[in-house]
């Protein structure tokens, strides 16, 4: 019998460890949160309805997150086709659409500042989100509670760039536009 020696166990072990570190940890630490209410941006922004982003997302809101609530939907909807839940139940949902870009509380971000003042298009940061046919499920870190997209490409595992909003994205864009910023402009 030939002994399994040399460097092969090392190599196999390192490969296993890297795999565990890269994918195993991510699989363990992130949990998928599925939107309680399915939603198609494409249906609402298409020609049939013709809504714009600002119809539901209040960009003049100083909050970082400008997700609508089910209550906002009732401005147009009397019922919700395809959703087998009572309206009262839907209205009681605290978080019908988990945000994949929810910033930490120590970060100040203003949509109004970017949309109203800088005149930026929503797609500049959010990509072609308006044509999405379904609401995304969101991977949330079980330990930190932060959505995975926050870390983007620099974090554990790749995230599609269009929906990432990490600090480097902010800094890059600010640099391109000649916006000089200091730490406290964004970090509380």
């Amino acid at each position: 019998m030939k002994r399994l020696g040399g460097s092969l166990p090392w190599v196999v072990g390192i490969a296993t460890g890297l795999a565990l570190g890269w994918w195993g940890y991510a699989a363990l630490v992130f949990e998928e949160r599925v939107p309680a209410v399915p939603f198609s941006h494409a249906v609402h922004t298409g020609e049939a309805v013709g809504m714009t982003c600002d119809d539901c997302h209040r960009t003049s809101n100083v909050r970082a997150i400008s997700l609508p609530t089910v209550d906002d939907c009732t401005a147009c909807h009397m019922d919700f086709p395809g959703i087998d839940r009572d309206l009262e139940e839907l209205l009681a949902l605290d978080d019908p659409w988990p945000s994949s870009l929810e910033q930490p509380e120590g970060v100040r971000f203003s949509h109004a500042q970017h949309v109203d003042l800088a005149g930026m298009e929503c797609s500049a940061c959010h990509g072609d989100h308006g044509s999405a046919t379904s609401a995304r499920s969101v991977a949330v870190n079980r330990i930190s509670g932060y959505p995975r997209a926050l870390w983007g490409r620099d974090g554990v595992g790749p995230v599609e760039g269009a929906h990432a909003m990490e600090m480097s994205d902010c800094v890059d864009c600010h640099d391109q536009r000649g916006v000089v910023q200091s730490c406290l402009d964004c970090h509380r």
């Binding site: 019998m1 030939k2 002994r3 399994l4 020696g5 166990p9 090392w10 190599v11 196999v12 072990g13 390192i14 490969a15 296993t16 460890g17 890297l18 795999a19 565990l20 570190g21 890269w22 195993g24 940890y25 630490v29 003049s60 809101n61 100083v62 909050r63 930490p104 509380e105 120590g106 100040r108 203003s110 949509h111 109004a112 500042q113 109203d116 003042l117 800088a118 005149g119 870190n141 330990i143 930190s144 509670g145 932060y146 974090g155 554990v156 600010h174 536009r177 000649g178 916006v179 000089v180 910023q181 200091s182 406290l184 402009d185 509380r188």
Partner: protein, 587 residues
């Protein structure tokens, strides 16, 4: 052929796994996640618990008193959001509201390295100035406040000091911007965006970047074109809080200039409605041209600087200076240890040479300052200093009102009850120094503060006298505690239940208020229910009360949370934000 898996093989494999994991992001991500979790969820730091809420109040970083929205957890503030619809129109910087709660904020005067109070500091500063003037010494006044046109108390100061030289800095973007795009830097500029179609609209909060681009050497025209392409339509060059948000009152109180892009930098004359003249008798040199050590006394006014300060240059100047130095600053800078006297900054109101001109005369006595940056024993404002250097005749309420009206700052709402609305002044966080002895003497004596019984429903404590203090200028700020806004504030001291206010005992006696009385203070900025205490350190005519977002009762149910004592009563129905206050009642 079966491989011979030995213990050594397994150990190698396991070692490889360990090495692989170490080489992967997992351990660092785990540490990162755990760090975040311990900061936000852990038990090592007592985190706020309870219902989330929001309180609308006012920023106390400058006399503007912009609306801010406090996010609270369990009644404890943990977040302050400017309620300017996120527009970040703060002239001092978007994050200036942090300055007030900065742990590094300078709130105590220092003399030769030791802590002193502002009264002593002012006396020392005034005596140094007088001494230097008397000996014909050279005096340099370095103004880091920005443009010389508006609201620069040091300009007023230096104008009164013979032989003084005003030293301009390039620390402030407005100077550079105005100079490089061909505008007269001595103009106070303001554009009404509603009436100007084709103009450059440059909000102070967002214009820092373009200005820095110009500073870095970009062609100003290219910057202007880029701004224009980005939809920027008009110029609003204003600071000192007044220019922070262009509402009607601000626009009407500021000088205006019609600017069109063709005129900027073209050499063609720009129509000016009002010109604000800087002190004409003061020579001005650039900071870079200053001969180090050529001055016997340096006065550095960095009182309004919330951004970058060329402290390295300052330090060089201060180290090499032959004589003494006086520094006004909101936060300690690296140069300060070299300075002989460092005074906490205040933000005096724009009662200024050139703006109201000498017509204000003795109205310069009403020095408004930012009380959040002052404490009873560390209150400093340059107007006070200028008065000590060059005392003026006390004025009465009539002269004050007339001067303010004449200067376009106010209108007399009702001459009979002598209530004056003053535009452009600060808000509820503004302290006003109306020395009773000066203001109310003579004919104005009858128009002193009015004490009336409060409505029963408004009285919190039946055992206390029910008094409403109306009319008199009320300070609604102070008692700032460091790190208030820090979410993980561990070292915040607790404030006792209920708002407290302090006033001079003689004032209390005059007003008929006994110590410990529960009173309601009311200004146009809001309402404040407080328990009043006597404090001889408080200047006459002042009432110092906690307001804003003071920390309370964390983890202690016996201490009721009171995130803000200043209750703003009138909210704008559209924005649900407190209206911009541009008037304080003086009766």
């Amino acid at each position: 052929m079966n491989p011979d898996v030995t213990r050594r093989t397994v150990l190698k494999w396991m070692g490889g796994i360990a090495a692989g994991i170490v080489l992967s992001p997992a351990p660092y991500a785990l540490v990162d996640d755990l760090t975040i979790a311990t900061q936000t969820r852990g038990r090592s730091v007592p985190l706020p618990t309870g219902a989330r809420g929001r309180v609308r109040t006012r920023c106390s970083a400058c006399p503007r008193g912009c609306s801010i929205e406090l996010h609270t957890v369990g009644g404890r503030p943990y977040l302050a959001v400017p309620a300017t619809a996120g527009a970040c129109s703060c002239a001092l910087r978007p994050a200036v509201h942090h300055l007030a709660s900065s742990p590094g904020r300078l709130d105590t005067a220092r003399l030769h390295g030791r802590t002193t109070d502002s009264h002593e500091g002012l006396e020392v500063a005034a005596s140094w100035l007088e001494d230097a003037v008397g000996k014909g010494a050279s005096i340099g006044v370095i103004d880091l406040s920005g443009r010389p046109a508006i609201a620069t108390p040091s300009a007023s100061l230096v104008a009164r000091v013979p032989g003084a030289v005003r030293i301009e800095t390039r620390a402030h973007w407005l100077d550079d911007l105005a100079a490089r795009v061909g505008l007269d830097p001595d103009l106070e500029l303001s554009i009404d965006p509603r009436s100007v179609d084709d103009a450059l609209w440059l909000w102070p909060g967002r214009s820092i970047g373009p200005a820095r681009a110009i500073e870095r050497g970009e062609d100003p025209r290219a910057v202007v074109d880029r701004l224009r392409a980005a939809g920027v339509r008009a110029v609003l060059l204003g600071e000192d809080g007044v220019g922070a948000r262009p509402d009607d009152a601000v626009l009407s109180s500021l000088a205006r200039i019609d600017v069109d892009l063709g005129a900027i930098g073209s050499g063609r004359p720009i129509p000016v409605r009002r010109r604000v003249a800087p002190p004409a008798n003061v020579p001005t040199v650039a900071l870079g041209d200053v001969d180090e050590g050529s001055f016997d006394l340096l006065v550095i006014d960095a009182s309004r600087v919330a951004g970058a300060v060329p402290w390295r240059r300052m330090a060089s100047l201060l180290r090499s200076g032959r004589g003494r130095s006086i520094v006004f600053a909101p936060t300690p800078g690296p140069a300060m240890r070299h300075g002989d006297l460092v005074l906490p900054a205040s933000a005096p109101l724009e009662i200024e040479e050139g703006v109201g001109g000498e017509r204000f005369g003795d109205a310069a006595r009403i020095a408004l300052s930012t009380p959040v940056l002052e404490r009873p024993r560390s209150c400093v404002d340059l107007h006070d200093l200028t008065r000590r250097v060059d005392s003026r005749t006390p004025c009465g309420a009539d002269a004050l009102a007339a001067a303010l009206v004449e200067g376009g700052y106010g209108r007399l709402r009702d001459p009979e009850d002598r209530t004056l609305r003053v535009a452009g002044l600060g808000a509820g966080t503004v302290a006003t120094e109306l020395r009773r002895g000066a203001v109310w003497e003579g004919e104005g004596a009858a128009a002193g503060p009015v004490l009336r019984p409060a409505p029963t429903a408004a009285v919190v404590d039946d055992e206390s006298p029910r008094l409403v203090l109306e009319g008199a200028m009320v300070v609604a700020a102070g008692e700032r505690v460091p790190d208030v806004l820090s979410k993980v504030a561990r070292e915040q001291p607790l404030l006792p239940r209920g708002g407290r206010a302090r006033a001079h005992p003689e004032d209390l006696a005059d007003w008929g208020i006994v110590e410990g009385a529960r009173c309601r203070l009311r200004t146009s900025a809001g309402r404040l229910d407080v328990v009043v205490f006597a404090d001889a350190a408080v200047r006459r005519g002042h009432v110092l009360a906690g307001c804003g977002f003071g920390p309370e009762s964390f983890g202690d149910p016996e201490r009721a949370p009171e995130p803000t004592a200043l209750e703003v009563l009138d909210l704008d129905p559209r924005s649900e934000a407190p209206p911009v206050i541009h008037a304080l009642e003086v009766s």
